[in-house]
């Protein structure tokens, strides 16, 4: 009896300690996640404009959203950006990982560092760096094109060219991390599998398709999902690189949510757009599990 009471007390003190250890995180989770998320959902059913009182308007924001051509355009831009940048980033990272996984190459760790380094830059810096290169009249790229007697490319005023700049900057900035994850994955594949394939007379390509790629499937999956989320979240980089332009040709979801929510003060409408984006991210995350 005595012992079991003591044990129970002991258990309770342990539980109290556990609660104490987690308390700050629980508190911040409630204040900075649960409350904003709930507010976001409720805003989306109101006509809140950030100043005056808000009225419940039902699904009006959502109806407006689905009739808004601008919203479709931004959504389409974002999906197009994701569909191009994620596969391109995936294959670039895989290619670089295969290239630099070869320990026989001198200086390969230095090369890895050089390719990884841009991932440390802020998204603002990534945008700036490429804007300086893609400048229509002052950028080095157009200068090089001209010195080969080629036509200047209107990086800032042509929508397709501007789209390409955002893709290049995104792939450049995110490749290093994915490359490192791929190298980690390549090291996990037992060398004996490659040797067995070689004995069976497999060519390098066959070895790659039947041994390397299946061995990387878990890692690949993670990289694809993470890249999709990162691509969908692109904001500051594009903001500094193209400003979303020309027009709204490179305006992606987060920028649209920011513009409607802060600049135009259509909080209700912006929150409805947020919820659509949340639904998309949720679907992507559910596929992951």
């Amino acid at each position: 009896m005595n012992i079991s009471v003591r044990k129970k007390n002991n258990l309770d003190t342990k539980q109290k300690w556990a609660l104490f250890f987690c308390a700050p995180n629980i508190l911040f989770f409630l204040i900075f996640f649960v409350i904003p998320a709930t507010l976001g959902i409720s805003y989306s059913f109101t006509n809140y404009n950030g100043l005056s009182r808000m009225d419940f308007v039902g699904l009006v924001n959502y109806v407006k959203l689905f009739k808004d051509l601008e919203f479709y355009k931004v959504l389409f831009n974002t999906i197009k950006f994701t569909l191009v940048s994620v596969p391109l980033g995936y294959f670039t990272a895989l290619f670089l990982a295969l290239l630099l996984n070869n320990e026989k190459i001198k200086g390969n760790s230095l090369m890895r560092i050089l390719i990884y380094w841009p991932t440390l830059l802020s998204t603002i810096m990534v945008g700036l760096t490429w804007r300086w290169i893609f400048g229509e009249n002052f950028g080095i790229l157009n200068y090089i094109l001209q010195s080969f007697d080629l036509e200047k490319i209107k990086w800032a005023t042509d929508s397709n060219a501007a789209f390409i700049t955002t893709i290049i900057a995104f792939v450049w900035a995110n490749c290093g991390t994915n490359m490192l994850i791929f190298i980690g994955g390549l090291k996990q594949i037992p060398q004996s599998l490659h040797e067995a394939a070689k004995i069976d007379g497999a060519t390098a390509l066959q070895d790659f398709i039947h041994v390397t790629l299946p061995g990387l499937s878990a890692v690949s999956f993670m990289i694809v999902i993470l890249s999709i989320i990162t691509a969908f979240k692109s904001f500051a980089m594009v903001l500094t690189l193209t400003g979303g332009g020309p027009g709204s040709a490179t305006t992606y979801m987060i920028q649209y949510i920011y513009q409607t929510g802060f600049d135009k003060m259509q909080v209700g409408y912006s929150s409805a757009a947020s919820m659509v984006m949340f639904a998309i991210l949720l679907i992507v995350s559910v596929i992951q599990t």
């Binding site: 250890f21 998320a37 810096m125 994850i181 990289i223 993470l226 949340f278």
Partner: protein, 271 residues
């Protein structure tokens, strides 16, 4: 096979140069003066390298204040992140209660709804808490990072339970076990989280964007954004200022590149 290695090496060098060039070009350009910057033919290296742009960036553009603001946010937020993440990660790894499992799932859910998506309601919360236009608004919301908790939890899971039991039998309470037994064990893990937190906060854009209004509160990233968003961009100042903002992250990377490169935590999860 040998020629294959040569090709590999050649491609490796080509791609590393390709990856380095944009930043390299930014840095060499920052030493050119205004007329040289926009005159043809372009030269790779400046004809008369000078620090003039840097002098302007440092003194006419309020660079020192922005650096101080950013450093304040980065240091305080990193310290709090380390304390909170190790405490919560320890509890999640070493105690078995149902509510802890629920908490873990709740924290995981935060990764699905990034702050970027709920910027406007987050702004409301900041405003109601009276944190608007305060540097603390860039610290407090960020310290409960899921990535940090997850990292520490992973580490503490690998520590054998017998170690804790032994300390309990010796009469140590849980707080003491955590502080004097567990924390010294996870020094290297804390260092890694510290490096990551440093980089997240130094480069953070979202929280400063929604919560800082007056220019004397600006962080470096917001200042860069303001400079680059101007109608007529002042590239001379902007180039020098952007090179300066990279330096602290560069230093941290040079000092800790082995740890950063070898951690699997570089899995791209942002804090």
């Amino acid at each position: 096979m040998k020629s294959n290695n040569k090709l590999n090496g050649f491609l490796g060098i080509l791609f590393s140069l390709l990856w380095v060039f944009p930043v390299f070009w930014l840095v060499v350009s920052s030493f050119k003066n205004g007329t040289e910057l926009f005159s043809y033919p372009m030269t790779l290296f400046p004809n008369n390298p000078s620090f003039d742009n840097y002098v302007v960036a440092l003194f006419r553009f309020d660079f020192i204040r922005y650096t101080a603001n950013t450093a304040f946010i980065t240091i305080i937020a990193t310290v709090i992140t380390l304390i909170m993440s190790s405490m919560c990660g320890f509890a999640l790894a070493k105690y078995k209660y149902i509510w802890l499992k629920v908490l873990f799932i709740c924290l995981l859910a935060t990764t699905m709804l990034p702050t970027e998506v709920i910027m406007r309601p987050s702004f409301t919360v900041i405003y109601k808490l009276g944190l608007y236009n305060s540097l603390w608004a860039c610290i407090i919301p960020t310290v409960g990072t899921m990535t940090g908790v997850f990292l520490m939890r992973q580490f503490f899971t690998s520590i054998p339970n017998e170690l804790l039991e032994a300390a309990r039998i010796d009469g140590a309470n849980e707080g003491r076990i955590f502080v004097s037994l567990m924390l010294p064990l996870c020094k290297s893990q804390l260092a890694i989280l510290g490096i990551f937190s440093f980089r997240w906060r130094w480069n953070d854009f979202i929280w400063p964007l929604i919560s800082l209004r007056s220019p004397d509160k600006y962080t470096l990233q917001i200042a860069l954004r303001t400079l680059s968003g101007a109608e007529a961009v002042d590239w001379t100042t902007l180039l020098a200022a952007s090179v300066l903002t990279m330096i602290p992250v560069l230093i941290v990377f040079i000092l800790f590149n082995r740890q950063i490169m070898s951690t699997n935590v570089s899995s791209g999860v942002k804090g």
